[in-house]
Structures are given as structure tokens and as C-alpha cells.
């Protein structure tokens, strides 16, 4: 049965922590720490103290973001492959774990929310559904919206590669920098697909009276106001 998202954050701010490389820059995480996390010398939780400004906020972590700390309120993922690779450590994480993967959703310690088949793109029209938008991060916007958020802050929604040609601010998926032309084209295609939902999300957010703020100044997303983390926290 599909979980119904409770309006726990009505009128508040909700932060969604994606995986884009801009996160490290926005939180002023020293390069040496980032390098050590990427090389696997430090765990992802080495970033936690730098993220103190959002520890007391309402935060939804996408995919491996939950490994940063248990101050995140929710972990959301949509991909069954992610679950298959991470099930043990995910099972041990004490926070609220939510998925729209029907395979993973069979676990009793996960909240399962069905994908909205009638509203695939944008923000779901039902509190017990999520609009997939072909991406876990954009899918989580439906969750944030149905918790009653008035403002949604997007972190790490870059939809492009970082200066070091990496897709994420970590290397949890063990992917090398994208230097090969063919791989680069493939990734650009993936980012293009991920970008398609934002037009619909912006339209739905406007109807719902939700302001979405993109805390990634270098993001490819054009639909929302872009600010730095410092500006967002003011």
C-alpha cells in the first residue's frame, strides 16, 4: 500500500540534498576533504560538520546523501539498483527511508510511495503519489510539496558536471571523471532527460503557491531563482 505523506512541514522550508558537485563548494568544504572523500579515504560523513547550517532544517537526502549523517530527516531513492547495492547500510540508517521502487518498497522498514501514473511529470496531485520526472531528486519535490512546504531549496541539483568533470560531490558510485567524449555525450543526454521535468514542476509549484529556490548557482535548471547557500540561509 502506498504511504500518504503527512503535512508535517506545513508552511515551512524543506531542503532537498541532491548529489551535484556544487554542494561541496556551497558548504565551503575544503578541497582536501573532498579529495579524501572521493578517493574513499574519508567516509561521506566527513562532510557532515561543514553542513551544520542545515542540520536543524527539514532535509530530504537523495540516494547516498543519508550517509552524510543521521541529522537528515528522510532518505529518498527511486532506483531499485541503488537499493540492491546499498540495502544493508540503508537498512541500518535510523531515519525515515522512502522509495517509489516497487521492488524495494516491499521492505517493511521502507515507506513506499507509488509513482503517479496520471501525472508523471511535475508535482503529484495526490499525497500518496510522487511524480517520477525520470530522476529521484526531482521526484522528491512531490514529497516536499506534500509535507506542506512553502519553500523548497534544492541543493546539488546541478544537472551538469563539476570542474573536475565528476557528476557528484562524492564517489559513492565509483565513477571516474567524465573525460571521454562519448561518455560526456551520454551524460549530457542523461542531464537533458533530467531537466525535462522542471518546466512541469515550476508550473505545478506556481499553482500550489510553493517557491522553489535553486541553491546551485551553476545549475543548468532555468526555471527557478538561483542563489548561493549564504543567500539562501539569510
Amino acid at each position: 500500500m502506498s504511504w500518504t505523506i503527512p503535512k508535517i512541514w506545513e508552511g515551512g522550508d524543506v531542503w532537498i540534498l541532491g548529489g551535484g558537485p556544487s554542494v561541496a563548494k556551497q558548504f565551503d568544504i575544503p578541497k582536501v576533504v573532498v579529495q579524501n572523500v572521493i578517493s574513499g579515504t574519508y567516509p561521506l560523513s566527513a562532510y557532515s560538520k561543514y553542513m551544520a547550517p542545515i542540520h536543524d532544517k527539514h532535509v530530504i537526502g537523495i540516494n547516498v546523501a543519508y550517509l552524510i549523517g543521521d541529522w537528515l530527516d528522510m532518505c529518498f531513492f527511486g532506483d531499485v539498483d541503488f537499493f540492491l547495492k546499498r540495502s544493508e547500510e540503508l537498512a541500518a540508517w535510523p531515519g525515515l527511508k522512502i522509495t517509489c521502487s516497487d521492488t524495494a518498497g516491499k521492505q517493511p522498514w521502507l515507506k513506499f510511495i507509488e509513482k503517479d501514473r496520471e501525472h508523471i511529470r511535475g508535482i503529484s496531485t495526490r499525497p500518496d503519489r510522487v511524480s517520477w520526472n525520470l530522476n529521484s531528486g526531482t521526484c522528491a519535490i512531490s514529497i516536499a510539496a506534500w509535507t506542506g512546504a512553502k519553500r523548497i531549496f534544492l541543493l546539488g541539483f546541478d544537472m551538469n558536471l563539476g570542474e573536475d568533470k565528476r557528476q557528484h560531490f562524492h564517489n559513492a558510485y565509483e565513477r571516474a571523471p567524465v573525460t571521454d567524449e562519448e561518455k560526456l555525450r551520454k551524460w549530457m543526454g542523461t542531464f537533458d532527460r533530467h531537466l525535462r521535468g522542471f518546466e512541469f514542476i515550476a508550473e505545478d509549484a506556481k499553482k500550489l503557491g510553493i517557491e522553489i529556490i535553486n541553491v546551485s548557482p551553476t545549475s543548468e535548471i532555468r526555471e527557478f531563482k538561483k542563489v548561493s547557500l549564504n543567500e539562501a540561509l539569510q
Binding site: 500518504t4 503527512p6 508535517i8 512541514w9 506545513e10 508552511g11 515551512g12 536543524d56 527539514h58 543521521d70 541529522w71 530527516d73 527511486g78 532506483d79 531499485v80 539498483d81 540492491l84 540495502s87 544493508e88 540503508l90 537498512a91 541500518a92 540508517w93 535510523p94 531515519g95 525515515l96 527511508k97 521502487s101 516497487d102 521492488t103 524495494a104 516491499k106 521492505q107 517493511p108 522498514w109 521502507l110 509513482k115 508523471i120 517520477w132 525520470l134 506542506g148
Partner: protein, 130 residues
């Protein structure tokens, strides 16, 4: 057209005892399953090894090495825990002051946005834990 998510694979048969895997049609032609269903190029479906003839394995590829039964095996895991805490009164001597509550997580972090009535806090607790 939206591509079907991998997790939404079509089922060929209802829970056969043999391991079931997810398969993807990577060739340019549809695949005719032995259940009389036709799978379009790009479509992901569930079937046993026996249901996908070896001769088709260049155009029908296995998506995972782990069977669907194994993927759906119930694992032990932590369920998020919450409790209700009463907020400190502004004036502890004031009996008329309405009591307000929070729902807090395992770390004591307040989950709700606004202070809650006991009834609302209990309702959120139920929503988060059931």
C-alpha cells in the same frame, strides 16, 4: 514517450518457483514471449531463464544478475522511531497555558514545523510510524 522504469517490469508469469529475472529488449524488433505477450524494443519484463531462448540472448539481455525473488527478499532493517514530547511552558505556573507538543526523532530533532496539539502530534506520530 516515457520509458518504463526498470522496476516496473511486466511480469511474464505469476511467481514460478524457478528464479525470475528482469530482461530488456535491446534489439530493434519486438520479442514474442511464450505467454503470447509482445515486448517492445526497450521494454523490461520479468521471466525465467527458460522463457528466454538462448538464440535471443543477443537482443534480450538480463538486466540484473540477482533474481527478482532475491531482490524482494525481506531484510532486517531499522524502522525510524519517533516520540511525542511536551514543550516547556512559557510560564510553568500558568495552569491555563495550553500545552504544546513536538514529534522528535531518535536524535531528539524536532520533526514538525510548528508546535502541535497533543491530538495532532499523535496523528503525525501515527503517520510516520505506521
Amino acid at each position: 514517450m516515457e520509458r518504463k522504469n526498470k522496476s516496473e517490469a511486466t511480469e511474464v508469469a505469476d511467481l514460478p518457483s524457478e528464479p525470475v529475472f528482469r530482461w530488456k529488449v535491446v534489439g530493434g524488433s519486438p520479442f514474442h514471449g511464450n505467454n503470447h505477450r509482445i515486448y517492445k524494443p526497450g521494454e523490461v519484463f520479468k521471466a525465467t531463464e527458460a522463457e528466454v531462448p538462448l538464440a535471443f540472448r543477443d537482443v534480450i539481455i538480463k538486466v540484473d544478475t540477482v533474481s527478482v525473488q532475491e531482490q524482494e527478499r525481506i531484510l532486517p532493517g531499522k524502522v525510524a522511531t519517533y516520540e511525542i514530547k511536551e514543550r516547556e511552558k512559557v510560564d510553568p505556573e500558568d495552569d491555563k497555558e495550553v500545552a504544546l507538543y513536538d514529534v522528535v526523532n531518535h536524535k531528539g530533532k524536532v520533526i514538525n514545523e510548528k508546535p502541535l496539539s497533543k491530538k495532532k502530534a499523535e496523528s503525525f506520530l501515527k503517520d510516520l510510524t505506521e
